[in-house]
């Protein structure tokens, strides 16, 4: 804060605002923290005071073959979705970075719009369309739909990284005799590497948590979030907390990895600009 603003400061108001920040974060983290705490709590209908410490709910999900199957599906779908989305997103980001062409606005709209369509509508459209072309009711249909939603995230992350690159770098490689393909391999890809890995992890994390579209199209090959939805519909049980905590730790590991990659060497040069 500079001098002029300092004169106009009011301590009480500042404290009130900071207190409000704390309150806002408390609201956001209350359900997350509670889910974590109650996943270790013995009560069938969780509330306070807390029951005993117990790993029952973890044991319950660990011995449930349906949960294992869901976890396997989630993991398989997530990894494939991550790889495919990142490849498609990289291509789109590079296209936007390098080329100007008629209809580019439409191209970018297609590349970025899908996440703004409500998942329930996307789910219905996907279900109807994929079952028409005989692709619904299996893991492949979940993969296809998730890539539609995840590729835009990959595109955005990688595009951001490309905008930090010196635009003269690629032409310099060509002038030195590199072909376009060689420049891609030795200049562009290494420069984007942290963002590519970041996009890979973020899109995997998005896929791990997506339940609505997956619920519509998965048929019998349910992913873990769809199972959770099933638990919510049926006998509500603290198993949800145990699954939630488990998936949360998995997702956060991926996000922190992505964060470390994105804010490592690359971000520093960007901050100076």
């Amino acid at each position: 804060m500079s001098g002029a603003a300092d004169m106009n400061r009011n301590r009480a108001l500042d404290w009130a605002l900071v207190a409000y920040i704390v309150l806002a974060y408390a609201f956001v983290f209350a359900p997350i923290a509670a889910s974590f705490v109650f996943s270790f709590n013995s009560d069938r209908f969780p509330s306070i005071p807390l029951g005993e410490f117990s790993l029952d709910w973890y044991r319950a999900i660990a011995t449930d073959p349906l949960v294992w199957e869901g976890a396997r599906n989630t993991l398989m779908v997530g990894v494939i979705v991550g790889v495919v989305s990142t490849l498609l997103g990289f291509g789109a980001a590079y296209t936007d970075y390098r080329y100007k062409f008629a209809g580019k606005q439409v191209y970018l709209a297609l590349a970025l719009l899908p996440p703004t369509i409500p998942v329930i509508i996307l789910g219905l459209a996907m279900l109807a369309y994929l079952s028409r072309v005989n692709l619904s009711g299996n893991a492949l249909s979940v993969i296809i739909s998730h890539v539609v939603v995840c590729a835009p995230f990959a595109m955005a992350i990688i595009r951001l990284r490309l905008s930090q690159m010196d635009p003269a770098l690629e032409p310099a490689a060509w002038n030195l005799g590199a072909s376009e393909w060689m420049a891609m391999r030795h200049v562009i890809v290494p420069f984007c590497a942290p963002a590519i890995l970041g996009a890979l992890f973020i899109t995997m994390a998005v896929s791990f948590d997506e339940f609505a579209v997956a619920w519509f199209v998965s048929g019998l090959n349910e992913t873990l979030p769809v199972k959770v939805l099933g638990f919510l519909q049926g006998q509500v049980s603290p198993r949800i907390n145990a699954i939630g905590t488990f998936v949360f730790i998995l997702s956060m590991t991926l996000v922190i990895l992505a964060q470390l990659l994105l804010s490592g060497r690359g971000a520093k040069s960007a901050e100076r600009e």
Binding site: V18, A24, F29, S35, A128, Y129, V247, F248
Partner: protein, 281 residues
């Protein structure tokens, strides 16, 4: 930068284009066609019949759900924006750079937790024997019925969009030219007046876009109205899932979905128009 179409360029640009046309544009276009199909004996048949549109639009239930959904989503956008603004403002102007970076990082975390799990967790807080009622009973209040109310649905909508709205507001506030604020202070403009006449107008684009995102998210969400609101009153999202999952009435569900898309497009158009009003870029 100027070479036209080449194999090299197409290798990078085509895959996404093909994927999104095949699996994003086509499904949405197919939804339009589907809305004109007919269902006989639980079997769908390609057709060109407006019966689904007339049936759905002729039902009071549909219009009631439509009104409810619009009202709930509008209320959620206003409520979320108003509650998020002081937090975004405080993070933007009252925290050090380091704390602000932490604040942003913490607000990103909810995106990677399951929304379903958070909604289930809110049930633990709001139910008749839940955490809030237990705490209230210690001071001799309650119990209050909080679960399966519209208020609970609102808490769900807040859970869904509050972090996103705070972040979007924050990014627009951070980019405000600080000299404008100092100028207002130097001219003895009061703090509150500065907020309303300098800060909010300068950040208008971001604030409106944030509210728009909240509207879109709440408008299409079926989890909060069902698992926190108890399914009453019926929203369009509930109507879609019911129509899709029970019986083969996909064409009617398509009518609801297309009506929702149409509504969202109008709302988004108006909001974007307002957000960028009087700006060259």
């Amino acid at each position: 930068m100027r070479r036209p179409i080449s194999l090299y360029g197409l290798t990078f640009s085509l895959p996404l284009l093909i994927w999104q046309v095949l699996f994003f544009v086509f499904p949405l276009v197919f939804l339009v066609a589907l809305s004109f199909w007919t269902v006989k004996n639980f079997v769908m048949r390609p057709d060109f019949d407006t019966v689904n549109w007339t049936t759905m639009y002729g039902r009071t239930v549909f219009w009631q759900a439509y009104g409810t959904t619009l009202a709930l989503a509008a209320a959620a956008s206003v409520l979320t924006s108003v509650l998020a603004f002081p937090a975004a403002y405080a993070v933007a102007f009252k925290l050090s750079d380091t704390s602000r970076r932490w604040a942003v990082f913490l607000m990103v975390i909810p995106f990677f937790t399951s929304y379903l799990v958070r909604v289930y967790s809110w049930q633990t807080f709001l139910s008749d024997n839940g955490i809030i009622n237990v705490i209230l009973s210690w001071i001799g209040l309650g119990p209050f019925v909080m679960l399966n109310t519209v208020g609970a649905t609102m808490i769900g909508y807040l859970t869904l969009s509050f972090p996103l709205v705070v972040l979007l507001q924050l990014f627009s506030l951070v980019f405000i030219d600080r000299t404008l604020i100092e100028a207002a202070h130097n001219m003895r403009c009061g703090r509150l007046r500065t907020v309303f006449e300098v800060v909010i107008p300068s950040a208008r684009t971001g604030l409106v876009i944030a509210a728009l995102f909240c509207f879109i998210l709440s408008f299409g969400d079926f989890v909060s109205p069902v698992y926190l609101g108890g399914g009453e009153p019926t929203t369009l999202s509930i109507l879609i899932t019911d129509t899709t999952k029970s019986g083969q009435q996909w064409p009617r569900a398509a009518v609801i979905a297309l009506t929702m898309i149409g509504t969202l497009m109008v709302v988004a158009f108006v909001a974007v128009k307002f957000a960028y009003k009087g700006k060259s870029k």
